[in-house]
Subunit: 372 residues, 2 copies
């Protein structure tokens, strides 16, 4: 193969490829990117065996063909080339080297046989639909903070995407939880997604997907089977295995009868939680909420280092309540609010608390209290 490609197009595609490739690999070929030149396109394929990304960029193909080369090395080289450079990639099959030329720079990179490159088996997808980038962005961005990092609970290490009956009809729903907090985000179910099987999209895939969603002008083609999920734009195809496990029945966790309603400016609340939690010891970051008629006092008491409290003017009309939370969990939930006030719905100091944005029931958060 021999191609000539503009540095910025090469950098963009290689940036996507190298982010899928793990830094350390016991299987050498997994460190490589598979370059395939044909027609007027250079395609880039990278995988970690669970996720595969295929990127396509326009290139002048002088000779079609394919080769694999270290993804991080090629990415680094391209990154360091001057902006606007034309880059020539030529595979020397005899020497088993990929020659990279730009200006007066020449590189000769080790390759591995293209036959060894593991191409993900194509799959039959049960469900295909199109989604707006902004819709997927909201679904995944607002849920991902709640993904569990506990490897033993592998079925919580992702976002559960499925079709559900929401308050306003059928919805495309993303749920994540780590047992301490939960996020449930809804969007109207896109056409063609009726028979969507419920799948758990792994954390790394969520991160890679996010990079496809910055351009609002391209629709995302979503395909889902029992074992795989695929997100595609005209340029990029991201395919990922889904987590092989059952997502727990989250609906039991979402409180239905919490009636004590607190409304508060989310940003002000988050900053106040951050301030008072400064004095808490690193382990237990417990903050206490003391609620009374239109008044919220946040307080922290850490015998070793000190105590802190802050009062906030809020809307609260129910009986006095004291309830404790992990400060980080409270902040992360409040930080999801981007339009209206945060509305908290409490039951008692021992029950899960619900939070949403104003009266919007398409984004619902649950946080477990802790004893303070």
């Amino acid at each position: 193969m021999k191609v000539s490609i503009e540095r910025s197009a090469l950098l963009k595609a290689m940036g996507r490829a190298q982010s899928v490739v793990e830094k350390r690999n016991t299987i050498p070929i997994l460190s490589n990117v598979l370059l395939e030149a044909e027609g007027d396109t250079l395609s880039f394929r990278a995988t970690d065996l669970d996720i595969e990304v295929v990127d396509r960029a326009p290139a002048m193909v002088l000779s079609a063909g394919a080769a694999t080369v270290g993804a991080h090395t090629l990415h680094e080289i391209v990154r360091k080339l001057p902006d606007g450079a034309m880059v020539e990639l030529e595979y020397d099959a005899t020497a088993g080297r990929m020659n990279v030329r730009a200006g007066r720079s020449n590189f000769s990179l080790a390759t591995l046989p293209r036959e060894d490159f593991p191409v993900m088996a194509s799959a039959e997808y049960d469900c295909n639909f199109a989604a707006e980038p902004a819709v997927l962005r909201r679904l995944f961005d607002k849920a991902k903070f709640a993904i569990s990092t506990e490897e033993t609970r592998y079925y919580l290490n992702g976002i559960y995407m499925h079709a559900a009956d929401g308050p306003d009809g059928r919805t495309l729903r993303c749920v994540a939880t780590d047992g301490h907090r939960l996020a449930r985000i809804d969007a109207p179910l896109p056409q063609g997604a009726d028979n969507l099987p419920g799948v758990i999209v792994p954390r790394k895939t969520v991160g890679e997907l996010r990079k496809l969603l910055d351009d609002d002008d391209v629709q995302i083609a979503v395909s889902v089977s029992e074992t795989k999920v695929r997100f595609a734009t005209p340029e990029v195809t991201l395919t990922s295995k889904v987590i092989d496990g059952s997502f727990p029945d989250y609906s039991r966790v979402i409180p239905q009868n919490n009636t004590k309603r607190l409304e508060v400016d989310a940003a002000e609340f988050s900053r106040a939680v951050d301030r008072v939690s400064t004095v808490s010891s690193e382990r237990s970051r417990a903050v206490k909420l003391s609620l009374d008629e239109d008044r919220l006092i946040l307080s922290v008491n850490a015998p070793d280092s000190g105590a802190a409290d802050e009062e906030l003017a809020v809307a609260y009309g129910d009986e006095p309540l004291e309830i404790g939370f992990n400060a980080k969990y409270l902040q992360e939930i409040a930080d999801q609010v981007d339009r209206e006030n945060a509305v908290f719905l409490f039951n008692s100091s021992g029950d899960p608390t619900l939070m949403r944005e104003g009266n919007d029931e398409t984004a619902v958060y649950v946080v477990m209290p802790m004893r303070v």
Copy 2:
């Protein structure tokens, strides 16, 4: 004590104090800052027993006094307070607590007895002079990359500041070396610095000093004894022990008879070294320079990952030469050049190489070659 102080002034002073305080301390009092209120000034004293910084800020002192409180906690609190806030600090001697109040936030912080706070013994300084911030900035900034990090060679873990005879007369000179490269930076000797004893200023002190040098309008009062060095502005006094050891006789290392002269654009050279070294394995980052009539070829050969070369147009009129260097060392030296071209003076492939900016002999760098 009870004082009221503007948040931004408090933040600035606490920022300086907490940067001297180590994150982990086996001696609890060293985690604290000593606050002393008197007249219309609040002073902040922090130390790690080797370095002491005293900062002064204007404050409304309602009641004079002193107390110590956790430096990182207080800094974090102040950082999180809203801009423009007035902060009240009140020491409650009965409870042994420092109360911090701003707006509706209240903090009550643990304290330790002020008597336990180690105040650095004042010293007799043999030499006192004033220096421009820009002069000290240049002396220390250009030398510090060469400071050794090897703890066993503790006498190289700093910058050797002393008076010397330079090419243009008496100079204030800063030298650093790690055995692989060396930087020697000169400035005209300030008035009053004639009897300057040679001192090794520790790496951490160099970092703290740097923060005093951003304001070009205040002169720096420098005081030096055999064991201590002090840098002071009207607001801040930084006192530090110097490293108790002998700095090696560096003059032997600086080649005098290197005649093969290469002149090259420093930025272009640095970028090219960066590019070709991409293919080198992480351990040995060797780059080879092949010099011929007005031509420089940089090359790297790493059997595992590949090879790279790049040609640069340079000014070189001597016999052909091949010489190898650690790529990182070459880049760090080239990155010190900020005005003219980099001028390298070589002898042979086994001898130390000298670099300077154009013909300026007040900043001289030496780098040892490596076999390639």
